[in-house]
């Protein structure tokens, strides 16, 4: 049903100037309202979980356990209380260390690889690209056992190092995305830089980096978000060492420790979601462009 309806607008809309009979116009208006009402209903459904979470975060403990939806009174002190219940600032600092160092390392290491895969021509390039694809597609669980053993032998389980260090050696998904974008850079730009006597390193750091800014911003954002939200990695490597917990890990444990306090749990949840939302509004364009880029076929 919905599919049939929506397909109608895929047809080109007739030019505005033509005189349209009143009946048709009214019908078109009603259809428009109907379409938008469907959108509005869907939008409300998408927003509702956030709203319920925010409302609950402002309730008293008893209210949060009742079917009531509206906080009475608003308990803003929940938000300060949360910081006393769990070392959220410590978790936030750990998260920031993990996310920023991982993102930085990914950029430094992945850009040259993507450059080599997209711009340079050399034997075995296709094979290496295939390896990147394989590394990207396989579930991380496939290699997790030996990696854990490796980090355990290095006595680094319990720290954030096992999460950060691998990113300094390149991240398959980022390499793939950057390569896709680098391919769209017109070859004449690079050739003329070569004619002017630029070395490959200078071409990369000047011509390509400047042209690929949106892609690099998107890849960095993705990496930051991915590491910020990561749960499996911190659980595995920092799970036993609370001083190295990240926000995601601390949040998951918060509920276990504070069994019935849904209000505080939701306050903590909101605190974890908020930085991401703020980041999104600052970098919306890069986000949307980046997501679109993931869907670009060769």
């Amino acid at each position: 049903m919905a599919a049939t309806e929506t397909a109608a607008t895929l047809a080109p809309t007739p030019p505005r100037r033509r005189v349209v009979p009143a009946a048709v116009r009214r019908r078109r208006f009603l259809v428009g309202v109907a379409e938008h009402s469907l959108l509005i209903v869907a939008a409300i459904a998408f927003l509702a979980p956030f709203v319920f979470m925010a409302l609950t975060s402002l309730m008293t403990t008893d209210q949060a356990l009742s079917p009531k939806l509206w906080p009475e009174p608003f308990r803003w002190s929940n938000y300060t209380n949360v910081f006393e219940q769990a070392p959220l600032l410590r978790y936030a600092l750990n998260t920031l260390i993990y996310s920023s160092l991982a993102t930085l390392g990914m950029l430094v290491s992945s850009i040259p690889v993507a450059y080599a895969l997209a711009i340079l021509r050399w034997r075995g390039r296709d094979l290496v690209f295939l390896l990147v694809l394989v590394a990207m597609m396989l579930p991380p669980q496939v290699t997790i056992v030996p990696l854990y053993v490796l980090w355990a032998k290095l006595n680094l389980v319990g720290t954030l190092a096992p999460l950060i260090v691998p990113n300094w050696f390149g991240d398959a998904f980022s390499i793939f995305l950057l390569r896709q974008f680098f391919l769209t850079i017109p070859q004449p730009y690079i050739d003329s830089a070569r004619v002017d006597g630029c070395g490959e390193f200078r071409i990369m750091t000047t011509v390509v980096l400047r042209l690929a800014k949106p892609a690099i911003a998107a890849v960095a954002l993705f990496m930051f978000l991915l590491t910020f939200s990561d749960f499996f990695g911190p659980l595995l490597y920092a799970g036993d060492e609370q001083s190295n917990w990240t926000l995601s890990l601390g949040l998951a444990q918060f509920r276990v420790l504070h069994q019935v306090q849904w209000n505080l749990t939701m306050a903590a949840t909101i605190i974890v979601i908020l930085p991401v939302v703020v980041l999104f509004f600052f970098a919306q364009k890069a986000f949307v462009e980046g997501v679109t880029l993931t869907g670009v076929k060769e």
């Binding site: 979980p49 056992v145 939200s229």
Partner: protein, 297 residues
């Protein structure tokens, strides 16, 4: 380039090979690994009572959650394409949930779907429907996770939207001239034009489904904690009744709670083969129905 080769070797190549080796050993991290031949695989295929439920659960995600997610993302994108006003606002609203960190999103959903006090069952109660126990009911736990994943459909939706905008107008025009109605245009113009993107969404969705861990881990531990205040932490994964015991969850439990490293490695090898095969099947079959513009020269 060369640091990456080193990194690739240390963090991917070496572990991949070692996984295969470890899968033939008994290893608990404390004592040196001991070669035990195919014993892990024998146990896996014939004796482990949890393995088949976990395989079933994960395949359930691939068979039911992934198609739902792709269709839902496509539907939302079509709706957005149709909107004439406030596209930016709507797009932001639909995208936002995809940003919520999985732990936070799962916590929110466990609360909203809380059987006794959550708003969803409250609303269902108003219209006379007795809501299910959601995360605490073995038949509803996976649908609960599916709902959660549908809420976070934003990335796929944006990709579809970009593809839909790119469908050449003249194709619709000539289809209309040939007398194609809206449904026929959707079937014969829109779908073939964006089929590579549908394939892409299906592959990514399948890879995601095979790896699903965080939502199940957080959902089950919290629902289990609510069910019994004692909450035995060693036995809460997969709650209720192993219905959310997905393959990666079982692998985690075996490897990093029970420290049966050899056995976990055997599970990893199986996962490697299956995920590789599934991806291959999708890519192969796609040749039949995916249309690449300019292909077939």
């Amino acid at each position: 380039m060369s640091p990456w080769i080193v990194g690739f070797g240390v963090f991917f190549g070496y572990p991949l090979v070692t996984t295969v080796y470890l899968s033939f050993t008994h290893y608990d991290l404390l004592e040196p690994s001991r070669w035990i031949g195919t014993a892990n695989y024998k146990y896996l295929f014939t004796q482990d009572t949890q393995i088949w439920p976990s395989v079933y659960n994960t395949l359930w995600l691939v068979a039911i959650m992934v198609p739902l997610k792709v269709m839902f993302a496509f539907g939302v994108a079509l709706m957005l394409l149709r909107a004439r006003r406030g596209v930016g606002v709507f797009r932001t609203i639909f995208y936002l949930p995809a940003l919520a960190p999985p732990v936070a999103a799962t916590l929110g959903f466990v609360y909203i779907l809380n059987p006794a006090t959550g708003p969803v069952n409250g609303a269902l109660g108003l219209v006379g429907i007795e809501g299910p126990l959601w995360f605490s009911d073995p038949t509803w736990a996976k649908p609960s996770i599916t709902l959660l994943m549908l809420w976070g459909v934003g990335n796929t939706m944006i990709i579809f939207l970009a593809a839909l905008v790119d469908v050449p107008r003249h194709l619709y025009e000539s289809a209309s001239l040939d007398g194609a109605g809206p449904f026929q245009r959707l079937r014969w113009v829109t779908l073939p034009s964006i089929s590579p993107v549908i394939l892409f969404a299906a592959v990514i969705g399948t890879i995601e489904a095979l790896q699903l861990f965080t939502q199940a881990y957080v959902g089950s531990t919290i629902a289990a904690g609510s069910a019994s205040s004692a909450g035995d932490p060693s036995n809460d994964l997969g709650f209720p009744e192993d219905s959310t015991l997905f393959y990666p969850v079982l692998l985690y439990q075996q490897g990093f709670r029970f420290f049966n490293m050899g056995y976990a490695a055997a599970m990893a090898v199986l996962l490697l083969i299956v995920s590789f095969a599934i991806t291959m099947i999708i890519v192969r079959n796609s040749r039949r129905w995916v249309h690449y513009a300019g292909a077939g020269r």
